[in-house]
């Protein structure tokens, strides 16, 4: 008797979940879908909806300065863009900033990470100082460097003068202004690259280097044959982050030059901001933002493909 009762109880306990799934008629696959549903809704609300809304707005002639309601304009905003020299100039500037500062920050970041990875007694101050540029707000960094490069009161020209060179009016020339911006961006972003690369460096087993020592490989060869190949995943991750933020460059040129002289250091993100916030032309601003979004997606896709072919 006793055994039967126990058996029944156990049976009921074990059968319950099975019954429940049978009742819902769920396979493992549909259960997974069900469990992912809340996350998908959240994602749709905060990412898919705004992007769709952006694309939708870009087809309208929506400007707060020429009266409402908005009129459907089809591809007018995109047509306008093709004939807009400032759009091409700011896009080119953005691409150029990306092409200069991403490799620049990678090289400096790699150097910093290798330095921080050396074993010596006072390691923590070095690692802490790595964090400072990364922790500083972008616009604040822009403000500081705007002062550094000021033609009269700036520390950069002061150093140049002391070294016997003539000071440069940095923000009076498109090339020098561009150089000053790129230097600032590299300073600001290389510590982030260094942090990711440092994390990668610490996963490389010491034993590999010891074995290489035994085999008689020099430092340089160890770097190219062990360190660099094993760092590749970290470097690709760092590059993805950096490239996307480079395409969205706004704060530093905004604070340093305001896009000047003329529009020669203005970026696409600044042009979007100008059209939406200053000119209140939400239709054209949205169209520009769609282009920037597409550009970011393309670049990300290229990187993701790079990782996939590696595996």
């Amino acid at each position: 008797m006793a055994t039967t009762t126990t058996f029944k109880a156990t049976d009921a306990q074990e059968a319950q979940p099975a019954n429940w799934t049978r009742w819902l008629d769920l396979s493992d696959r549909s259960l997974a879908v069900l469990l992912l549903f809340p996350a998908a809704v959240l994602l749709a609300l905060i990412i898919v909806y705004p992007v769709c809304r952006l694309v939708y707005t870009s087809f309208f002639n929506l400007s707060l300065t020429s009266g409402l309601p908005a009129e459907f304009a089809g591809l007018d905003n995109y047509r306008l863009m093709i004939g807009d020299p400032v759009f091409w100039e700011t896009t080119w500037n953005t691409v150029l900033i990306t092409l200069i500062t991403v490799p620049g920050a990678l090289l400096v970041g790699l150097g910093l990470a290798l330095m921080a990875n050396l074993s010596f007694a006072m390691q923590w101050p070095v690692r802490l100082s790595l964090l400072i540029p990364w922790a500083l707000p972008l616009s604040f960094a822009g403000l500081i460097f705007a002062w550094f490069f000021h033609s009269e009161y700036g520390v950069v020209n002061d150093v140049l003068n002391r070294l016997g060179f003539e000071g440069i009016i940095w923000f009076n020339s498109p090339n020098w202004a561009f150089a000053a911006i790129c230097l600032t961006i590299i300073w600001k972003t290389s510590s982030f690259m260094a942090l990711i690369i440092l994390a990668g460096l610490q996963t490389i087993p010491r034993s590999l280097y010891e074995a290489a020592d035994v085999d008689g490989a020099g430092r340089l060869r160890q770097f190219f044959e062990i360190t660099l190949p094993l760092l590749k995943p970290s470097i690709v991750v760092a590059l993805i982050f950096r490239t996307i933020t480079a395409l969205q460059t706004f704060d530093i040129p905004y604070m340093m030059t305001g896009g000047g002289p003329g529009t020669s250091t203005s970026t696409l993100a600044m042009y979007i901001h100008q059209n939406t916030v200053s000119f209140l032309d939400l239709g054209y601003g949205s169209a520009l933002a769609v282009v920037m979004f597409a550009l970011s997606m393309c670049v990300t896709a290229v990187y993701l493909r790079m990782i996939r072919t590696k595996e």
Partner: protein
């Protein structure tokens, strides 16, 4: 807890809760809190004194000042963000004279129906009236003037210049004779700020040309080339600093105040500071009308600021009453004496108390009366951006005056179509 104790506890909490809510609600219903936005460059501390008087006379109103943005563009961006979000937190807004048309088009301010504007200077009555509706009320007038070093001009027996060419000759003569490497001939605004729009327009207007007529573009390429070329020549001939493309309005004010400038183009606010305790040139400053192009007429840019009531304010009547006060003749006089802000009432320019604190106001009325407004259009922000970035590019040597004029024309055609 027993049942009766629990009920008592609930009751007590309820009473406490209601009491607290009432305590918070009571002062709010007894007095109105108004938030007023004043840009930080416009002496909010002096306006505070005027507001203190208002609060004393109206104990049921408390006014809080919110400041921010020290350039016209920064203020515009801030207000654009607040207003397009339909934010109710601001009741009264200070607006640059170029903005009423834009605010009217966006429906961001409540109009003053039936307001008689005839007591104000005609230019300001006009600037605040869009399509027959009074959008805002004048806060103070302004225009650009030529500031000069009275002591240096007297020393070399030179009269204040009437043309830009005379100014060049005078500046060169004084700078050479003084032999001071830090002394520059002319400081004006070359940075890509709102002031650079006026920089462009001064010589353009002086040649008898206008930029728009009833909202349509009437661009004169030759006049524009001459205008851009004039400013570039100041930089090229060493009369202005090489980095003039970096100079903003307040940089001009600071350098003049430090005694490093012979002539300066600036707005009326610079006077009070040039006479202040920290000024190296107190008592040595002259103010005159801006020079003309040779053969042209003297012209200046109409400035000034206005008080608007936010369309989203929850205290429309109280806010309008406050604006009526701030725009009144009494406050205008108070601000003229204490903040050297130019009045929008013609009579105050001859007022003995006003001219005692700022003697040059006696001659300023003529300047303000003949000052020309910048193009009136809801899309003014775009017009401004086109002109100021081009002026900046020409002064930096990135663009020639000819190309600059072509760019302005091509881009303005798109904005003012």
């Amino acid at each position: 807890m027993t049942f009766s104790k629990l009920t008592a506890f609930r009751k007590l909490t309820g009473i406490l809760f209601c009491g607290t809510m009432l305590a918070f609600a009571m002062p709010a219903s007894a007095e109105t809190a108004l938030n007023i936005y004043i840009s930080s460059q416009h002496q909010p501390d002096v306006w505070r004194k005027a507001l203190d008087k208002y609060e004393a006379a109206n104990p049921d109103v408390k006014v809080k000042i919110e400041t921010g943005g020290n350039t016209s563009e920064a203020q515009a961006q801030y207000l654009n963000t607040v207003m397009s979000a339909k934010d109710t937190s601001l009741d009264v807004l200070i607006l640059d004279v170029i903005r009423p048309a834009q605010f009217a088009a966006a429906g961001w301010t409540s109009d003053f129906a039936g307001k008689d504007m005839s007591s104000y200077l005609p230019a300001y009555a006009g600037a605040n009236t869009v399509d027959g509706k009074v959008i805002a009320l004048p806060a103070f007038a302004d225009s650009q003037f030529l500031y000069y070093r009275k002591d240096l001009l007297e020393k070399y027996g030179i009269a204040p210049p009437k043309t830009w060419d005379e100014l060049k000759v005078a500046a060169k003569k004084i700078a050479e004779s003084e032999g001071n490497a830090n002394l520059q001939g002319l400081s004006f605004q070359g940075k890509a700020i709102e002031g650079a729009v006026c920089t462009f327009l001064l010589p353009y207007w002086s040649q008898g040309k206008v930029l728009t007529d009833n909202g349509r573009l009437t661009f004169d390429r030759d006049a524009a080339i001459k205008s851009l070329g004039l400013w570039k020549s100041f930089a090229d001939e060493g009369i202005s600093k090489k980095n003039i493309a970096e100079v903003g309005t307040d940089d001009t004010r600071k350098e003049f105040q430090a005694g490093n400038v012979i002539f300066a183009v600036n707005w009326s606010y610079a006077w009070a500071q040039a006479q202040g305790k920290e000024s190296a040139v107190a008592g040595k400053v002259g103010v005159a009308r801006l020079p003309a192009m040779t053969g042209g007429e003297q012209a200046t840019c109409l400035g000034g600021w206005e008080w608007g009531v936010s369309a989203y304010s929850e205290h429309q009547d109280e806010a309008k009453k406050l604006v009526e006060y701030l725009s009144s003749q009494d406050v205008s006089k108070f601000m003229a004496i204490n903040g050297s802000l130019l009045p929008t009432y013609a009579g105050l320019y001859q007022d003995a108390e006003v001219t005692k604190s700022a003697p040059w106001f006696a001659d300023a009325l003529q300047v303000v009366e003949t000052a020309k407004p910048r193009p009136v259009t809801p899309r003014y922000n775009e017009v401004s951006e086109v002109i100021r970035t081009t002026v900046n590019a020409v002064l930096a040597g990135v663009t020639t005056p000819e190309d600059g004029a072509d760019q302005i024309e091509a881009r303005l055609k798109r904005v003012l179509r």
